[in-house]
Symmetry: D2
């Protein structure tokens, strides 16, 4: 799947997040995804909530697996770890740079760095393991 | 802080999640929190999304730290890990059983099991590390 | 497999750790394992090294999976997370209390609390995911 | 500290691992460390054990923190996560490519990719959080 197909897939299959996530770049085993930060992602103090950052990392790994395998069965997250390292800037989108480290028959493993606006110091890192459904 | 004070704190400080999380039980270093599952937590297929389960685990550790230390500075998540083990049942609330394993001067560590409705097999487990702000 | 069979299996299959790990208790989906702490587990300052604590947690999950499934194919660790919360006491054995939270067809997930001697405050917690080889 | 000073520090402070770990490259916020794989790192089947891979990742983050801050107080691991993705080749050294993502006043976060010999597909990934002792 290419960027247009992936963006269409997201809009169609996840209507509740329409406009929230945009795929900016897509390559062999990697993806860059942008999250439009709005009021509902914020915590007191104006910072982006942890669950919102988790959602961005999670969807990024999901989408790059989807791009590599095609929309057959739906992969599901089995394990994840995240470190929250810096406070995202208020009023800035979040950008996830994601790379698949493994795309096996049963499991896929991706790592993600999350950036706030144009700051090149990551606000968070994540690793996610997805279970790939058996071929039918 | 007791249950009523904590529930009031959540309603006042996190108006965007009012009605979403309810503290059901609170003890020394432990808490039980319920998440009312609604349409916006769901993924295609009727299952509860990973970020929603993450949010429940995260808020549970946050609240038990708050209950133990009082509402002075705001603790922030620094590290987390989660395993997603079973598909939550459709139309069931999620319940988090959370225990603080450490409440140090600088870091607090909590572990969480998340259950779907009355099923006694956990749908997810989480561990969360919070950084505690220095006294001022 | 029962305790004697498991202890024999460890002695036979892992001769390099003979005498290091002892299974103290074994039940449905749970195990208690003891690590005899010796000079080679120590770090400067007399504390037990992180990799040694990791090894105890890892072997505990491995053994309870083995006890439940029998010695067919060898399960392998795919993901792990650990939090190190307190400094183990010098000259004390480490004890791992391990519970399987999931024993699926493809993946098993265990959680472990590690204690130092008789202190009831855990020195570390771990969660481990094992991949179970397909039946042949 | 430069490479020679770091290698000397390891030999002096960790005599039990002398010859096991060698620093191959050191830069701003990054390090490459080699582990000489010997009989005692192996598991049945000839593969390198998980605790040995953990030890390599852990020491790599420790050393780059040390190189950046100097040998004052000793940093300690507080949290870690690892994914084991491929079986290391028998008879090959392991190489860790490690990068510090954060070096704060209280916490440092590093990420590590572990390679087996010259294969450019990582056998494991790790993230490690170290607690930095307060200045005295």
């Amino acid at each position: 799947m290419n960027i247009e197909e992936l963006n269409s897939f997201v809009d169609k299959e996840f209507p509740q997040v329409r406009g929230e996530f945009t795929i900016e770049d897509l390559g062999e085993m990697r993806i860059r995804t942008r999250m439009a930060v709005t009021e509902r992602h914020l915590r007191p103090g104006g910072t982006v909530s942890g669950p919102s950052i988790f959602a961005l990392a999670d969807v990024s790994v999901y989408l790059v697996v989807l791009a590599m395998l095609g929309p057959k069965g739906l992969a599901v997250t089995t394990s994840s770890s995240m470190d929250f390292m810096r406070k995202p800037a208020a009023g800035q989108d979040l950008i996830a740079e994601c790379r698949l480290l493994k795309l096996g028959r049963v499991l896929a493993v991706g790592e993600v760095l999350v950036f706030s606006g144009n700051d090149d110091r990551p606000v968070a890192r994540a690793s996610m393991t997805y279970s790939i459904p058996p071929k039918t």
